[in-house]
Symmetry: C2
Subunit: 115 residues, 2 copies
DNA sequence: TACTGATATCGTGATTCGGTAATATTTTCT
DNA sequence: AGAAAATATTACCGAATCACGATATCAGTA
């Protein structure tokens, strides 16, 4: 009784982990870059202004999670979103933000903007 | 040059913050509860097995962010999702998970399941 | 007013996560 | 083979966040 919603605990942990993939400004910046098409690591570094190890780390993370795919092209590695739903999630988040932005901004429960 | 993707940094931070609202197993459990309709705090506590202060905290967080709304009914407070897009995001995440679950599970960059 | 049930708030300990710096690895070119 | 460019890996530190327990607040009722 009590315990356990319709979805088992493991599935929830997994979904939370998926959302965490999107819950970081650096990773979001990288995903935004990739929304417009495939990019090499160097391009992402230039476009985002993030450090190279940082980008590489996050790309690895996104790759582990299956959110992006990659091909080696010569000495470059080209990344792209692995599924249209990744872009769809980002788009939906934007729509939602258009309505609740102020609330999210003011919420003091966790990290303030400007990292 | 370099710096700044199409979306300004603030917007990214904000979007990251929004996703963080979804990036916790407890909050997800609560949101799942609310997907099926309005619930009082006590009902959510019973359905999720989480402690009452914990539920109350997370509900406050979700409310601050504008993801849920609430009405007082006698000595109960009834919460519900504030926008169908919240449910849509959860649904999309489920679809995406169906394809990348293994990757997410194996990704060791951050939190393992079983909290 | 005193009492009970429902929900909110606060302080704290423990854990987790992200950025940076230094370095390793891989690939191409000469 | 040797060098240079592109990308990946590792370790460490600081900051942020979650759960828990105790307690406060608020609404209804006797």
């Amino acid at each position: 009784m009590a315990v356990l919603a319709p979805t088992p605990a493991d599935a929830l942990a997994l979904k939370a982990k998926l959302f965490r993939g999107f819950a970081d400004p650096s990773r979001l910046a990288i995903l935004e870059c990739l929304r417009e098409g495939p990019r090499t690591v160097g391009e992402v570094v230039r476009l985002t202004g993030l450090s190279q190890p940082n980008v590489s780390n996050h790309l690895q993370c996104l790759w582990d999670c299956g959110l992006v795919q990659r091909h080696r092209q010569g000495r470059f590695v080209r990344y792209h979103l692995s599924d249209p739903r990744v872009a769809a999630l980002l788009a939906l988040a934007n729509q939602l933000l258009a309505e609740v932005a102020r609330g999210v901004y003011q919420c003091t429960r966790y990290a303030d903007a400007q990292r």
